[in-house]
């Protein structure tokens, strides 16, 4: 495992301390610690440098495959967040379309018409996976975070993990969810599970992480199972593979560049 052992130990200690001290009435300390945990988890979820990754999305409804989508995601860190291009490789009806995200700037480019249409983060393109799920993002950049305790929860592999439970509330307007409950493994900082809510507290979706693999210098989950909070018969599985470092110029993340895009 590539995660630095000293950081790992510090984090474990920090996490335990945060929980106990939080209960002693030191919320600021706990919040800082929660942010540290989330930052470490973000670094596991996404390489913190420019990279590309291939992603497959399979939508299931009532247990049957409804749709398969394959995309390549190109991400470039900027500040605490990423700029992202999502190039759709399949299905053929959507081949060559590009989703661009730069903060709250979301564009969908159609190679057939050369048209770029500005869309909102709320609009969905890929089954249960929202635009926010498909683009690379650091949760710490989009949400305020607090530590709300420790819990044992089942991960994507159906095994139980002792986790930090983090409560995330929307900080940036581009954040796709109003609030998130996020469980992070106390020992490894691996993301285990997330529950995503509307501003009215309605559960939108649940995500489980699994299939840890080494990629770009860290052990990362390479599969996310996303269940629809409104209709549990709808499930999307995102599989990530072929992580690779890639220098990506900032000009790629302007919609006027999209007709010139070459992956």
């Amino acid at each position: 495992m590539e995660l630095d052992r000293r950081e790992f130990a510090n984090l474990l200690l920090g996490g335990a301390t945060a929980v106990s001290m939080g209960s002693l009435g030191l919320p600021a300390f706990a919040a800082n610690n929660a942010a540290t945990i989330l930052k470490k988890t973000d670094a596991i979820r996404n390489p913190q440098r420019s990279f590309a990754v291939d992603v497959s999305l399979i939508n299931y409804e009532r247990g049957k495959v409804k749709e398969k989508t394959s995309v390549t995601t190109y991400s470039r860190p900027t500040g605490s967040q990423f700029q992202t291009l999502v190039h759709i490789n399949a299905p053929s009806a959507d081949r060559g379309k590009i989703l661009l995200r730069n903060g709250n700037n979301l564009w969908l480019y159609d190679p057939s018409s050369k048209a770029s249409v500005r869309i909102s983060p709320r609009q969905r393109l890929l089954g249960n996976a929202s635009n926010g799920d498909v683009v690379s993002s650091n949760l710490v950049g989009d949400y305020n975070v607090s530590l709300s305790g420790s819990e044992t929860v089942a991960g994507g592999d159906k095994k139980n993990y002792s986790c930090h439970k983090l409560r995330l509330t929307q900080k940036a307007s581009s954040a796709p969810y109003s609030a998130v409950d996020f469980w992070v493994d106390q020992k490894s900082n691996q993301p285990i599970k997330g529950k995503y809510y509307t501003s009215s507290g309605k559960l939108i979706k649940v995500a489980w992480y699994r299939k840890l693999k080494n990629a770009m210098g860290a052990t990362r989950p390479t599969e996310i199972i996303i269940a629809d909070g409104f209709d549990p018969n709808k499930v999307t599985v995102m599989t990530m593979g072929n992580y690779r470092a890639k220098d990506i110029p900032s000009s790629w993340f302007k919609k006027e560049w999209l007709p010139n895009f070459k992956g």
């Binding site: 495992m1 291939d54 497959s56 399979i58 009532r62 247990g63 394959s70 490789n89 399949a90 299905p91 053929s92 009806a93 081949r95 060559g96 903060g103 709250n104 700037n105 979301l106 159609d110 057939s112 018409s113 050369k114 048209a115 249409v117 500005r118 869309i119 909102s120 609009q123 819990e151 044992t152 929860v153 089942a154 592999d157 159906k158 139980n160 993990y161 307007s173 691996q190 009215s200 309605k202 559960l203 939108i204 489980w208 299939k211 052990t219 599969e223 269940a227 629809d228 909070g229 549990p232 499930v235 599985v237 593979g241 900032s250 000009s251 302007k254 919609k255 006027e256 010139n260 070459k262």
Partner: protein, 524 residues
């Protein structure tokens, strides 16, 4: 009673049905039979989730949980969450079907397959479409179109690629025999070389669809839309963008500091009619339509943060300048506001249509002809609102509303004059309608556009409604479209459109009163 159900009936049902846990209360992920879990060392020692043995013994394909934890302690009953036994039952798909095969292997195999195949270079769409059209006099005709549309990019070298967008189509109309020379066409919508001079600099040479604008219903900054349509089967701007010819041009795009700059030149192409460069039967390139005059253009996209998007542009068409910009920004996660403005020295639509002699003096005065070239302003201001989850849950419903201004169009009194045209002035009025249609811009100085889209309204089918409306004369155009996917690559489409308003109104005067269409598209 509820507790009894939770602890006895529900788990029993789960065992009988041999179905694993799913997502209802979301303590456990949906069961994915046969999915092997891959871990790397060192990994945290996981604690097996209780309640798994039953499923392991009864689920074909086998869940992942080992038997030794069966019947051991339940996971904590968290507030608002049910014990896993209940989740396992309530989460079952109603028809009891679980995903077949190894869901993870599916995803990985899909990625590997894409990698082996490499990125596909082109997309081929085949479409069959039947029309039932009714004209303004109430006469109807049936028509049928077959078309093949092939577009994409092919790498020639590391730095050079070929951009192509080609369409072949054959049309038949009831009551008239098929004539190959008239009814078959091969359109080169785009065909250009692209040269990458660096990671942030490209040149393109050839026929290119240069498209600008952020608005949905009308794009004032889209300089080269004039006379560009190859077919007119839909009033939806999104469809029309697919159905246009590019211009022959040289363009270059580069970055200066953080600003993206695109500059280009469209030469005038003056070729004889009846030749391959112009309107020869079957294969004419129609360059006389797309390159009627020379034009220089410039687009500048400066950095404007992570919410606003701004592109300014300048164009010089046949010596006449124009300046414009488009600006958009998001509000929250579901609202996009935008505006698009163009100021251009040009003729008004009436002046362009009537020239120096068409129409009586009274009519010409009435529609404002005779002013010559002047600065005209056009704008689209609008919003796209994706309905929030509090209202519609996971449904994807969006509404677009736009206001269009075109000072080159007709004011209220000029619309009245147009509607009152009689005798030979009727021909002059027809010319005005024709120019507005050819230029793809509003004939009325002010109009409203709206569009509502409901994706996945029933299963995976999509419904969209759109309308243009001229407040001054109460005329407009409405279109409804319903798309049903057929497998991953097929799509069935039903479309209906109609104009409304008096026969002499802006939209009501359209020779085509209504159209009902049925189409099937298959994409390779």
């Amino acid at each position: 009673m509820k507790r009894l159900l939770m602890h006895s009936v529900a788990p029993t049902l789960a065992l009988i049905l041999a179905l694993p846990a799913a997502a209802q209360d979301f303590d456990l992920p949906p069961d994915l039979p046969g999915a092997g879990d891959v871990s790397v060392d060192p990994q945290p020692e996981p604690v097996e989730a209780p309640g798994a043995l039953e499923a392991a013994e009864t689920t074909p394909g086998g869940p992942e949980l080992p038997p030794e934890v069966a019947g051991s302690e339940l996971p904590p009953d968290l507030p608002g969450e049910l014990p896993p036994e209940v989740e396992m039952t309530e989460a079952l798909p109603e028809d009891g079907v679980i995903p077949e095969g190894d869901i993870s292997a599916d995803g990985e195999a899909m990625l590997a397959s894409e990698e082996r195949r490499g990125m596909r270079h082109g997309t081929l769409e085949l479409e069959a479409r039947a029309f039932h059209n009714t004209d303004i006099n109430g006469d109807s005709e049936n028509a049928f179109r077959l078309s093949a549309h092939y577009f994409g990019t092919r790498e020639i070298t590391d730095s050079t690629s070929l951009l192509f967008n080609l369409r072949a189509r054959a049309d038949t109309v009831s009551g008239r025999s098929f004539r190959f020379e008239d009814d078959f066409n091969f359109d080169v919508q785009e065909l250009a070389f692209s040269f990458a001079l660096g990671p942030q600099t490209t040149l393109q040479l050839g026929r290119i669809n240069i498209r600008n604008g952020v608005a949905t219903g009308y794009n004032p900054t889209d300089w080269f839309k004039d006379d560009s349509l190859v077919v007119t089967g839909s009033a939806a701007p999104a469809d029309r963008r697919n159905e246009r010819l590019g211009v022959f041009a040289l363009t270059g795009t580069t970055t200066i500091g953080q600003t993206l700059v695109t500059a280009g030149y469209r030469p005038e192409i003056d070729a004889d009619l009846g030749t391959g460069w112009t309107d020869a039967d079957n294969y004419g390139l129609q360059l006389h339509r797309t390159n009627p005059s020379d034009a220089w253009f410039l687009k500048v996209t400066p950095p404007t943060g992570d919410n606003l998007s701004l592109t300014a542009n300048a164009v010089l068409i046949d010596g006449d300048p124009g300046f414009g910009f488009e600006l958009s920004g998001g509000v929250g996660d579901n609202l996009v506001l935008y505006t698009e403005v163009m100021a251009q020295k040009r003729l008004s639509i009436a002046d362009e249509a009537l020239g120096t002699s068409l129409g009586s003096l009274g009519f010409r005065d009435g529609v404002g002809a005779g002013a010559g070239k002047d600065w005209h302003y056009s704008a689209a201001v609008g919003m796209n609102w994706a309905l929030p989850m509090q209202l519609v849950g996971q449904q994807d419903i969006s509404v677009t509303l736009e206001y269009h201004l075109n000072t080159a169009g007709l004011t209220g009194s000029q619309i009245d004059a147009l509607a009152g045209a009689t005798g030979l002035d009727g021909l002059a009025a027809g010319a005005i309608y024709g120019v507005a249609s050819r230029r793809q811009e509003p004939l009325a100085e002010q109009q409203v556009f709206t569009r509502a889209a409901w994706n996945n309204i029933w299963g995976d089918s999509d419904l969209s409604l759109l309308g243009f409306y001229v407040p001054h004369d109460g005329s407009g155009l409405a279109q409804i479209s319903y798309d049903v996917p057929v497998g991953q690559n097929g799509k069935f489409n039903l479309r209906g459109m109609t104009t409304f308003g008096d026969d002499t109104s802006i939209y009501g005067a359209n020779p085509n009163k209504s159209s009902i269409q049925m189409g099937y598209t298959f994409t390779f």
